[in-house]
Amino acid sequence: MTLAVQLPQAGLRRYGSLLSPMAWSALAVAAAVVLLSVFAPILAPYDPDYVDLNNVLAGPGAQHLLGTDALGRDLLSRLMYGGRTSLLGPTIVVIGSTVLGLLLGLVAGWSEGWLGKVLGRVFDLLFAFPALLMAMLAIALFGKGLLAPILAMTIAYVPYVARLAQSLVVAERSRPYVQAYRVLGFRTPWVVLGRVLPNLIPTVGAQSTLNFGYVLADLAALSFIGLGVQPPTSDWGAMIEESRGALLGGYILPAFWPALVVVLVVVAVNVIGEELSDRIGGKLS
């Protein structure tokens, strides 16, 4: 039967409408961290690898704004340079997993036959492996460094995107507007890539933004246990690991700063991701 009731006009909120103060601050934090990292070679006060044994474990001061580590290296400079590796990893993982996940999700969601079912099971299987475990396996196979964990994490995060994309496509496929495209004689690749895919991007983008935070924390953890970025390259996770000795000696700052930045960035990214998905939810309902 039919309901002669009209849904409320969707879309009173627009993308351009004001962000919440929370989201603004999150955006500001994320932007600041990215800018400081990208422009580290210009902005950093010291060479991050310059060892100054006369000035070890110095507290914050005019010379070293955030202090120095056990080798007398400037912590601020190391944080800024560390951001380059620490942010690069998650960026590659998120882009890779989003692209792969979207494609696989589209295929899985669109094919009504065995292909969709098989892909769905493969996603489930991948879900069963924690991303960190996959990364450690990859390191065991290909050696330490940044490349192996990035590859492994990309694969590990594909199902998060693919599963979401798949379910969205299944819902979208049965919507009248998609059926109208079919009846109008538009070819399937055009409909799927040209029309359905763009409608998924906001939702998937929100999920990927959230993933960024998780990947950042995972990669930092890998570096912390010594499997990720290798010394002397600066990296937030590695910095925490290097500061363990100093920490036991009562010097908390060298470990505190990188930990703080990791937390700040993860929280900021989460807030942005939540805001995005809230907005999309509000827009589509």
């Binding site: 039919t2 002669a4 009209q6 009248p176 109008l184 004689g185 409608n199």
Partner: protein
């Protein structure tokens, strides 16, 4: 006679916005059935909810809303609870939304009796069973142990009515309680409500968008438009001799079966669509087979108009989807323009050829258009695909066609969400017509629209049909809408065709029992209803 519900100068709105309700005044007396009619967004539900002390969050209001002297605008929570529990009940449109799906009907009905009325479980059960029987549900005892999903929509709405009547309320508020139901089911519910209201001497406020329904149930009526009462009075007076332009429009737009106005069907021309022995079955995972369409056969001549009428589950939508090749038949022949349809999924090239023969417009104006694509481009895309037009030429063609369906050039770049329901259906129509099909399938294409908008869209379809020589297959539940547009009717019931023929013949002299029932179930005004036979 005392006033049960008194609403005076009730204004409700949000800060800095025009009010949603503007000085609404209405009253319901003891033992009186009053209708509140209006189109979507007119404020019917807001008004009624206010009677129970339910207001949208953050809204500001003024005036008086009183039930039996209790002002719900100022009453304490405690008093409002007492009011809702004992004096005023409400029945909503969607019965499934109002009941916990994991608890039984019995749990639902006895909950308040146990918690607030201090009845023992046995007493509460007895009273609930009695109430279920009273609302016309058989085997009430077994029903008590069933879950909502085991009941049909009509049965569940009876359960909701039983729940509303449990505490013998003085005032019953009904918010479109039959809108989600089939006509034949609706007829039973309306009869039940009328009987209960009369025998209990309850006051009833019945909200509906359907004037016919209001006329079949209520002595007095208020017509609401954009938050204002534009007309009120005895139902018969208001509907037969409306004083206000808006009421007049509403009355005129309300579809009625008008056999006299029908043109005789043209002599059968060349068959465009021939269907023989067409069946569609679905295999369920556990081995059950569902027959959605059973052995359908009919012929639709070029330039003809066929209405496919049936209730939910009759197979009418399956038929429509088979015709446009969104489904593949399990058995039987479907021939369009002399070309037999293969019984397999179509190839891309076949689909493109078929698209020039048949197009479809769906029911839901909010889901029928791609939310991201400006409507002009949506139509232009079809011109580019089918008429091989360049980007510029396609835009010109699209603007021209949109103009023809009543969408001006200023809307060319609008996204669907910026358009009203009626405008969206016009765009959907333009999109379908851009492929220049011969056969246009309308799958409940006007059912989700307000009556006045529906009337305009129907008029447009009629106009386009004449101008373009279209053949129409109109799938709908509404006999009156079909009688307006189609010269032939096909009545479906439970997957099969029970009757087909010229519209006038079917409506005046139905040969089938089910068709007769369908016609008799249409709401009839109180003033010319036959005496109610119990």
């Amino acid at each position: 006679m005392t006033q049960l519900l008194t609403i005076e100068d009730f204004t409700l709105g949000f800060r800095d916005r025009p009010p949603l309700l503007d000085s609404v005044s209405l009253h319901v007396n003891d033992g009186e059935a009053v209708a509140l009619v209006g189109e979507s967004g007119s404020g019917k539900s807001l008004t009624t909810r206010a009677a129970l002390g339910l207001f949208p969050g953050g809204s500001e209001f003024s005036g008086t809303v009183a039930v039996q002297g209790l002002d719900t605008l100022t009453a304490s929570k405690q008093r409002l609870m007492e009011l809702r529990r004992g004096h005023a009940s409400m029945i909503f449109q969607d019965p499934r939304a109002g009941i916990n799906p994991v608890r039984t009907v019995g749990d639902f009905l006895t909950e308040t009796l146990l918690r607030f009325d201090g009845l023992s479980r046995a007493e509460a059960t007895e009273r609930a069973v009695k109430q279920l029987e009273q609302v016309g549900l058989r085997r009430a005892k077994e029903l008590m142990d069933q879950h909502p999903h085991q009941l049909s929509g009509g049965m569940l709405q009876r359960v909701m009515i039983a729940a509303a009547l449990l505490n013998s309320p003085d005032l019953l508020l009904c918010d479109e309680p039959t809108t989600a139901l089939d006509v034949t089911t609706q007829a039973g519910i309306v009869k039940l409500l009328r009987e209960e209201q009369q025998s209990r001497g309850m006051g009833m406020l019945f909200i509906t968008h359907d004037l016919n329904l209001a006329a079949s149930l209520c002595e007095r009526v208020y017509v609401l438009r954009r938050g204002r009462v534009v007309e009120q009075g005895g139902t018969q007076n208001v509907f037969l001799t409306p004083q206000q332009d808006y009421t007049r429009q509403l009355v005129e737009a309300t579809p009625v079966i008008d056999v006299a106005g029908l043109e005789a069907p043209a002599a059968a021309g060349v068959p465009l669509l021939e269907v023989a022995g067409l069946s569609k079955t679905y295999q369920l995972p556990r081995g059950d087979v569902i027959t959605a369409l059973d052995n359908a056969a009919f012929t639709l001549p070029e330039g003809g108009s066929l209405g496919v009428v049936g209730e939910s589950g009759s197979g009418k939508s399956t038929l429509a989807r088979l015709v446009v090749a969104l489904e593949t038949a399990t058995e039987g022949e479907l021939t369009l323009r002399g070309v037999p349809r293969p019984r397999r999924a179509l190839k891309a090239s076949e689909r493109k050829v078929l698209a020039k023969d048949v197009q479809i417009v769906f029911q839901d104006p909010y889901l029928s258009l791609d939310p991201r694509i400006p409507v002009g481009n949506a139509v232009a895309d079809v011109f580019r695909l089918h008429q091989r037009q360049g980007r510029k030429q396609a835009k010109v063609s699209a603007a021209e066609l949109l103009g023809r369906v009543g969408i001006g050039p200023e809307r060319f770049d609008a996204r669907p969400r910026a358009l009203s329901g009626g405008q969206r259906q016009r765009v959907a129509l333009a999109k379908a017509l851009a492929a220049r099909p011969r056969l246009l399938v309308l799958d409940e294409a006007t059912s989700a629209l307000d009556v006045s908008v529906q009337a305009q869209v129907l008029e447009l379809v009629e106009e386009l049909r004449e101008q373009l020589g279209l053949t129409i297959l109109f799938v709908t539940h509404d006999l009156a809408v079909v009688s307006r547009l189609c010269s032939q009717i096909l009545v479906m019931h439970q997957g099969g065709i029970v009757e087909q023929g010229p519209t006038a013949r079917i409506l005046e002299d139905p040969g089938d029992e089910y068709t007769r029932n369908l016609i008799a179930s249409r709401p009839r005004p109180l003033w010319d209803a036959e005496p109610v036979t119990a």
